[in-house]
């Protein structure tokens, strides 16, 4: 089901250990996550290179957001309370 596939993708893009386990045996991991046999086969066709590269990109974006958040980068310009 769509929800199961989205949940699996979310885990694959955020959890390195889970991603490594999936790359080693994608069909079994997908089935464990509740995907149908057809969905698990479709997940197994996802190139591991693409998955790893995408995950690296997401990690970078999450780190950038944290860095920007720490600087309160947009707040400062419109601060009206004199700080």
């Amino acid at each position: 089901m769509q929800a199961d596939v989205e949940r699996l993708l979310a885990r694959l893009l955020t959890d390195g250990g889970f991603r490594r386990r999936f790359v080693a045996d994608p069909v079994s991991v997908a089935r464990e996550e509740g995907l149908s046999p057809a969905e698990a086969q479709a997940m197994a066709r996802l190139p591991s290179q693409d998955l790893k590269t995408a995950a690296r990109s997401y990690e970078h974006k999450r780190a950038s957001k944290l860095k920007r958040g720490a600087r309160h980068w947009l707040i400062g310009w419109f601060r009206t309370d004199g700080r």
């Binding site: 089901m1 769509q2 929800a3 596939v5 989205e6 949940r7 993708l9 979310a10 885990r11 893009l13 955020t14 959890d15 969905e39 479709a42 997940m43 066709r45 996802l46 190139p47 290179q49 693409d50 998955l51 790893k52 590269t53 995408a54 995950a55 690296r56 990109s57 997401y58 974006k61 999450r62 957001k65 980068w73 947009l74 707040i75 400062g76 310009w77 419109f78 601060r79 009206t80 309370d81």
Partner: protein
């Protein structure tokens, strides 16, 4: 009349205010203002009185199968209602699933189920905010597994089912077409261009696979707009009947303001070239 604008970033604020006669519209990232004090949002509202503003939301995840919560929608609704922008927008993406926060935009499987789920979320968004967002096509480095529909057909399906307009990101289109080997012109032929409510342009860079030598075009908003994106903009201007609003997105590695203004001039020239072709 076509308009050209810029994404509002504090690093660019002084330059933007100095060049407001060359900037027709500004786009503000909603998520950076959701937790701000009312006074600070009021300052944003004052800016909206000076120059048309679009509010661009990132983290609702409206194209996910999970129902977007009222709490998240209410926060965006409060900002939109306080600032009174010309338009607001979100992404054709999911950002969380099963309690896992991805932290950025992700492409869901393009299925009939996700068309229906997105349409449901968009109706909830319209009910909460009072207007339908423009929805943006996203860049992705993975072709969503379990997809049944090509990207253009999936987008057109959501537009048809929900009634939303499109925020057409031409660099996202260029990057996806490059990475997955489809024709961006065919994509433009497959979506209702008359319902493009806004256009994004940006730049990116080539990256190499985490393991291996495969190369990908990454949409990073850190580089100049490449020639193929301007060419797509001209094609769009030649085909679309309505006035277009084009926003240049830049999220870092900021060049001097004159260089950004030059990109805006290049944007106007690309639009004009397309309009001439349309008139011929």
């Amino acid at each position: 009349m076509d308009r050209v604008g810029l994404g509002w970033r504090p690093e660019l604020a002084a330059g933007i205010f100095d060049a407001l006669d060359e900037i027709d519209v500004l786009e503000v990232i909603a998520d950076n203002y959701l937790d701000m004090h009312r006074q600070q949002r009021r300052a944003l509202r004052m800016m909206a009185r000076q120059v048309p503003i679009h509010i661009h939301s990132i983290a609702l995840g409206l194209a996910g199968i999970e129902e977007v919560t009222s709490k998240r929608l209410d926060r965006v609704a409060r900002l939109v209602n306080e600032v009174e922008p010309e338009a607001w927008s979100e992404h054709l993406a999911f950002v969380r699933a099963g309690g896992v926060e991805i932290g950025h935009l992700a492409a869901p499987p393009r299925t009939e189920a996700s068309v229906a789920g997105a349409a449901r979320n968009l109706q909830r968004a319209r009910a909460a905010v009072g207007s339908m967002p423009l929805m943006e096509n996203i860049a992705t480095l993975i072709e969503p597994p379990c997809s049944q529909l090509p990207e253009a057909e999936w987008i057109a399906g959501i537009m048809s089912a929900s009634g939303c307009g499109l925020l057409l990101d031409l660099h996202n289109l260029h990057a996806n077409a490059t990475n997955f080997g489809f024709d961006p012109l065919q994509f433009l032929s497959s979506i209702p261009l008359e319902r493009v409510g806004c256009v994004h342009i940006a730049g990116g860079q080539w990256i190499t696979a985490a393991d291996g030598d495969k190369r990908y075009l990454l949409d990073d908003h850190l580089h100049d707009v490449p020639a193929p994106v301007y060419e797509l903009l001209s094609v769009l201007a030649a085909r679309a009947p309505q006035p277009l609003t084009v926003i240049l997105e830049r999220d870092g590695a900021y060049p001097p303001m004159p260089a950004l203004l030059q990109e805006l001039q290049h944007t106007r020239a690309a639009l004009a070239a397309g309009r001439r072709q349309r008139a011929a």
